[in-house]
Symmetry: C2
Subunit: 177 residues, 2 copies
């Protein structure tokens, strides 16, 4: 039994979007923690119209991968979380989905898993494949799995962040020269 989990700041700060996975399933226990994290994300006016289709089958993940333009890596993920939100989901449905997805990915990170979002480019294909009702938008997917062991000969690409002083303005937008 584990007493202490990962520190929240560490789980947030050290999260990187990664999409190279080991061929190994995620336990139901960990998956449930990830889903609870999405469930507890706040939503606009507390509408709670976000839904998730948890896709673990190879056939299902192949369909999900095909709905994106850069989604082949989803075929190798242990699980794809397909986010659906009712078209009555308010002015900023993608914001709510972003909150849900980030919660999922932070907890995945805290559990030692890798994850990455995938943009859906062909929503109707995805709805058809998973029998999702037409009144739901399916803008985004998150793929999750155990991180692949990367050989030294092919190191992962680094994505350094811009400096914080280039990202943050104080009180008003001032020129940074």
């Amino acid at each position: 039994m584990r007493i202490l989990g990962m520190d929240a700041y560490k789980a947030v700060i050290e999260k990187r979007d990664k999409r190279q996975f080991e061929d190994r399933p995620i336990s139901e226990e960990v998956l449930l923690k990830i889903l609870q994290a999405t469930r507890m994300a706040g939503s606009g006016k507390n509408r709670q119209t976000g839904r998730i289709v948890v896709v673990e089958s190879q056939e299902g993940r192949d369909s999900v991968a095909g709905s994106g333009d850069f989604g082949d890596w989803i075929k190798e993920a242990a699980v794809a979380l397909v986010f659906a939100i009712h078209s009555d989901g308010g002015l900023r449905p993608d914001f709510d989905i972003g909150r849900m997805a980030q919660n999922a990915m932070i907890i995945a990170n805290a559990e030692g898993l890798s994850s990455c979002p995938m943009t859906v480019y062909r929503q109707q294909e995805l709805r058809d494949a998973l029998s999702i009702p037409d009144e739901y938008d399916v803008p985004m997917v998150v793929g999750i799995g155990f991180p692949a062991v990367i050989s030294d000969s092919k190191p992962p690409r680094s994505h350094p962040r811009i400096p914080i002083e280039d990202m943050v303005y104080r009180e008003t937008w001032q020129d940074k020269t």
Copy 2:
């Protein structure tokens, strides 16, 4: 000095959107942790076009509050984070903003602070007030502050979540009857 921070799962699961604040500033140290959390959020194709205007002055927060339809509570927050994203920010800019905002709110929660998003209804007004260039969308704000002590006579409204079995489907969207 604090050795251990809040557990990641606890920080995520117990986060609630709250907008009643004590009149008390946030330390620069804590604000910087919150901003670092937003900075480390992944972005579509690693574009990193999200920016933040940190508004702490009363005059500034009054302007921010006025750009929303339900924003008066922003006047009482210690700080308003105004999220701006370049109009070239990809297909799903609000998703990226949602990821940034959720990171901020989770770390705020881990630091004992309350927070809540506000939707911007009058973006041009907000851009004008904060001198934000026109090519940036300013869809959302997050207000953060120390939680108000709520008297027993006026308990906070509860926002229970729907059961997980009403939110999650497995493999395909199946009727839940």
